[in-house]
């Protein structure tokens, strides 16, 4: 339960198989799969067009796509993020993912293509339904089947295909007509003759743009295709254009890219995380702790409320903990020892520290709250977790006060009330009763 492998005095070692990195497992699985001798035999067939493993064969194309470094890197990122969300995928699920990715097809019997299916598919013109990018998320399977398989349920949590931005949808829908967007459309959609803007896509696109309002069914077909195209974009946008196209806005975790590149990577290399990121997290924490839209990010505000009925808004300031190292207080992002998970460490003194593991969901939550989202709208579980962390910090504060020998004064009653001014700056109003 405590995630230790061994303990003193007990002659047992526990190996938790779920603690291996899904991303590492993926790499090894892919290497083994793609390097399998069987594919050489397929290549040696020298098939012609319209045949299995010919130039039009979707299975062969999926294989080629899966070998590209870009696609592998994105897939690896996704599984690494699953790891950082404490969702580990066993090897069986990863193999399932790979097989479905290469062989999946929406309308073929059993939803997986066999060699004999390929000529019929090419003849019927349904190659686009073997979209690798859609298969990765189990888009070829029925909804119940997809929800029952762990790997697709996990990848589905990213919301890829359903999240989007105006820019991306403009490219997909109006790209070929608009001057500025045409180069992007060309690169991502037109160049991809298999799964990009093929005949069926263009037909549905025309229907959607120019069709009559009553025809709901046609537009739903196009909207479904859009889902597959957005998924494709996630794997096609190259690293140079990641920033410009805001790649991670195609997912629910908008800060995921930053999480991997600017938090995990520096920590693993032994460097510190940039200060603006830490400030943002502190601001998010302050908003959750006080329940008010504050903008303080140099200090952590430990505030309580007068009675439990007022839990959401906490106005009574107990203490301010400096984020910069000062008199033993410090707030920093570190790497947790036993599992390499980034964590926020709040130090109240040299010996008193509290750790808050920063999995992806919590990181996203704090970042969004810092940028203006209401705490209860994104994740209730995160919100409750952070309030529990606040209780821990308050308990640690009491411990520090006890150690420092601070006695609560008997005579005076004094309170510090937080008030929020313009631009979110907090001021403290002291309320004190007269003695006697």
């Amino acid at each position: 339960m405590e995630d230790l492998q061994q303990t003193e005095g007990v002659d047992l070692r526990f190996f938790n198989l779920s603690r291996y990195r899904s991303a590492e497992l993926l790499d090894r699985a892919l290497d083994a799969f793609l390097g399998h001798a069987g594919w050489n035999i397929c290549h040696a067939l020298n098939a012609g067009p319209g045949e299995f493993f010919g130039p039009q064969c979707p299975i062969r194309h999926n294989l080629t796509l899966l070998e590209t470094p870009l696609a592998r890197r994105r897939l690896n990122d996704l599984l690494a993020l699953c790891d950082y969300n404490q969702l580990h995928l066993p090897i069986r699920q990863i193999l399932l993912l790979i097989v479905n990715a290469v062989l999946g097809h929406v309308s073929v019997k059993g939803r997986l293509m066999t060699a004999t299916d390929v000529p019929a598919i090419i003849r019927a013109g349904t190659i686009a339904q073997a979209n690798l990018y859609n298969n990765i998320f189990g888009g070829n399977l029925s909804e119940t089947r997809r929800e029952s398989l762990l790997v697709f349920e996990a990848l589905g949590r990213f919301g890829i295909g359903y999240e989007t931005s105006n820019r991306i949808d403009n490219i997909l829908i109006f790209g070929d007509a608009d001057e500025a967007l045409r180069p992007y459309f060309g690169r991502y959609m037109a160049d991809d003759i298999f799964y990009g803007a093929d005949a069926s896509y263009r037909a549905a696109q025309r229907e959607y743009i120019e069709g009559t309002d009553e025809d709901d069914e046609r537009s739903t077909t196009f909207l479904r295709m859009l889902v597959a195209q957005r998924r494709g974009l996630f794997f096609k946008i190259p690293d140079e254009e990641k920033e410009e196209m805001r790649l991670w806005e195609l997912t629910v975790f908008r800060y995921a890219g930053e999480y991997l590149e600017r938090v995990v990577a520096p920590l693993q290399a032994g460097r510190r995380v940039a200060r603006p990121i830490l400030s943002r997290l502190v601001r998010g924490l302050n908003r959750v702790f006080t329940g008010m839209l504050v903008s303080d990010d140099r200090e952590l505000l430990l505030a309580t409320s007068l009675a439990p009925s007022q839990r959401r808004v906490s106005r009574l300031l107990e203490e301010r903990v400096s984020a910069e190292p000062r008199l033993g207080e410090r707030v920093e992002i570190v790497l947790r020892a036993h599992d390499d998970m980034p964590a926020l460490e709040v130090a109240l003194s040299r010996d008193i520290r509290q750790l808050l593991p920063l999995h992806l969901t919590r990181y996203e939550f704090l970042s969004r709250v810092a940028e203006g989202a209401l705490p209860s709208s994104f994740s209730k579980e995160c919100y409750e977790d952070l309030l529990a962390f606040k209780s821990q910090l308050l308990a640690a504060l009491a411990k520090r006060r006890a150690e420092a020998g601070e006695e609560p004064e008997r005579g005076a009653i004094a309170f510090r009330l937080l008030e929020v001014r313009e631009a979110g700056r907090t001021t403290v109003r002291d309320l004190e009763l007269r003695e006697g």
């Binding site: 007068l306 209730k380 579980e381 409750e384 009653i413 009763l433 007269r434």
Partner: protein, 527 residues
């Protein structure tokens, strides 16, 4: 589960109507016509009293008894007499003075603000022996500080959204200085009089139950802390009140709890003890105590009804974990609720039947005189003076039954639904009728009271059944339902849904396919 003899031997099954034990009959004080519900459940369980007000009433009783140095003492035997406080100065300031904030804003000079406000309150204050509020000037550095304090205190009033009269508004029970009873202000004399509308004596019953529970001694120090503790909030409330005011009420009539011991009393005390032992910061434990208090009163109501109605086992409550689709569990839950709802009325009817089968009634029948029957009823249930019907014993009993049923339906019968809704156990969500559908908040409270550190999930469900009669999973459902109504898959799905809800609250961890643990978050080390 046989009941232990209550305080009044002879009131239980058999009803041989012995002479009352020494001391006055409990109905002497009240003179209630048709003293029937009270013999079964006590005087009284009040359905329109919300769980928080039950708790506040309890604290008032405890505070008064503590002042008499009898906190939870002597099994709280009948009569339970106590002298609570009124605290009219505090209540006028907080709830009968709307212009504090306005004056603070308009008058920046503190002295002028004080003068304006003091003049006004002198005229408008009700229920106080004199209009002298000048003591406040010595307590605060400025009028603005005073206004800020009043604003803070108003913000933590219990049940802020209610639109009750100002003399029925209550401040959060920080400590002894914040406790006072419900009063009504007489329109003619302007004096406060004790009323039993909002404080309906359910809190007094709660006090008596705890005083008779097995773990009373362990609970005593925590209750003492609640009513005698000095924390800074209590001192803040005290600062709004004049020193030395003796505003204790007169002793009034007493409540009545028939049973000396009962498993529900012990269950209640155990749960309260579990919450207190968590040592939650500030007053975070209070909402849980409130919910558990009301839940155990509800259980008491149902269990006693079941016993009097002739059932051997305590009633079970089949819960649906709410889902969008209509499922078998929902149907069964509706059925379970319906059955339990009718239990108390059935108990009342059975009481009348016991009278019919009692020795005293049989003797009266043998004698043949109708007036003897009336005497029996007068002695047993204090009823029959207004009976105008024929001289027929059967008709007399029938009329008694009807009167008893009608009186019962007005209040005591509503307790099941009323308290059930308030604590989040009973709801109509997604259907048109009531059934048992516990909310997340209620499940969290039950978890905190049941799980000390960590417990396996199916074991947790079994504990919920053993303690409260809640049926959620298939194991418990199998024991309670007849074979033809039981469907294992439906209940397994029900349990799975609860699992998901608990996981989303951060209270449950699933380690593998076959193993899930519920955890008490306040005992967890590290996140």
């Amino acid at each position: 589960m046989p009941l232990s003899p209550g305080v009044w031997p002879g009131v239980l099954p058999g009803l041989p109507f012995l002479a009352s034990p020494p001391g006055p009959h409990p109905n002497r004080d009240h003179g209630i016509e048709l003293w029937l519900d009270e013999q079964i459940w006590g005087h009284r369980l009040w359905d329109t009293q919300s769980p928080w007000l039950v708790f506040l009433e309890f604290l008032n009783v405890a505070d008064a008894c503590h002042r008499q140095e009898q906190l939870l003492g002597h099994d709280a035997l009948y009569p339970l007499r106590y002298r609570p406080r009124q605290r009219m100065f505090l209540r006028n300031i907080l709830f009968n003075s709307d212009d504090v904030a306005r004056i603070a804003e308009e008058q920046h000079d503190s002295r002028r603000a004080w003068e304006t406000w003091l003049a006004h309150i002198q005229d408008t204050a009700l229920g106080v022996p004199h209009g002298e509020f000048g003591y406040l000037r010595n307590r605060f550095h400025s009028f603005a500080d005073f206004a800020q304090t009043v604003h803070l205190m108003r913000g933590v009033a219990v049940e802020r959204e209610s639109n009750k009269r100002w003399s029925s508004r209550f401040v959060f029970p920080f400590g002894p200085h914040a406790l006072y009873v419900d009063v009504g202000i007489s329109p003619t004399t302007g004096q406060p009089t004790r009323q039993y509308i909002n404080f309906g004596r359910s809190g007094e019953l709660l006090y008596a139950m705890l005083a008779r529970a097995a773990s009373r001694d362990a609970l005593l120090p925590y209750v003492r802390e609640m009513v005698a503790g000095t924390n800074q909030w209590d001192r803040l409330v005290a600062s709004l009140q004049p020193d030395g005011e003796d505003d204790q009420e007169r002793e009034s009539t007493s409540c009545y709890l028939p049973y000396l011991r009962h498993p529900v009393f012990d269950g209640l005390a155990c749960d309260w003890l579990a919450i207190c032992r968590l040592q939650l910061p500030s007053f975070d434990g209070y909402p849980h105590l409130v919910t558990l208090g009301a839940l155990h009163l509800l259980r008491y109501h149902l269990w006693v009804a079941a016993t009097w109605a002739g059932r051997v086992t305590p009633p079970s409550l089949l819960c649906e974990i709410v889902t969008v689709k209509k499922t078998l569990v929902r149907e069964l839950s509706l059925q379970s609720y319906g059955q339990n709802d009718g239990l108390s009325t059935h108990a009342v009817e059975q009481f009348v039947e016991r009278i019919r089968g009692s020795d005293a009634w049989k003797n009266a029948k043998e004698s043949g005189a109708f007036v003897r029957h009336r005497e029996v009823l007068q002695e047993a249930v204090w009823w029959g003076v207004d009976y105008e019907g024929a001289n027929d014993p059967e008709q007399l009993l029938a009329e008694l039954k009807q009167a008893a049923r009608k009186g019962h339906q007005q209040h005591t019968a509503q307790l099941h639904r009323g308290y059930g809704r308030e604590i989040g156990l009973v709801s109509r969500r997604g259907t048109t009728r009531y059934r048992y559908a516990p909310t997340d908040q209620l499940m969290k409270t039950l978890l905190l009271a049941t799980v000390e550190h960590r417990m396996e999930y199916t074991e947790f469900l079994a504990h919920l059944f053993a303690k409260y009669g809640l049926v959620i999973g298939d194991g418990e459902a199998e024991r309670v339902l007849p074979a033809d109504e039981f469907d294992r898959k439906a209940f397994q799905a029900n349990a799975r849904r609860l699992e998901q809800r608990l996981a989303s609250l951060g209270l449950l961890r699933r380690l593998s396919d076959a193993c899930a643990y519920v955890e008490n978050p306040y005992r967890r080390e590290g996140t």
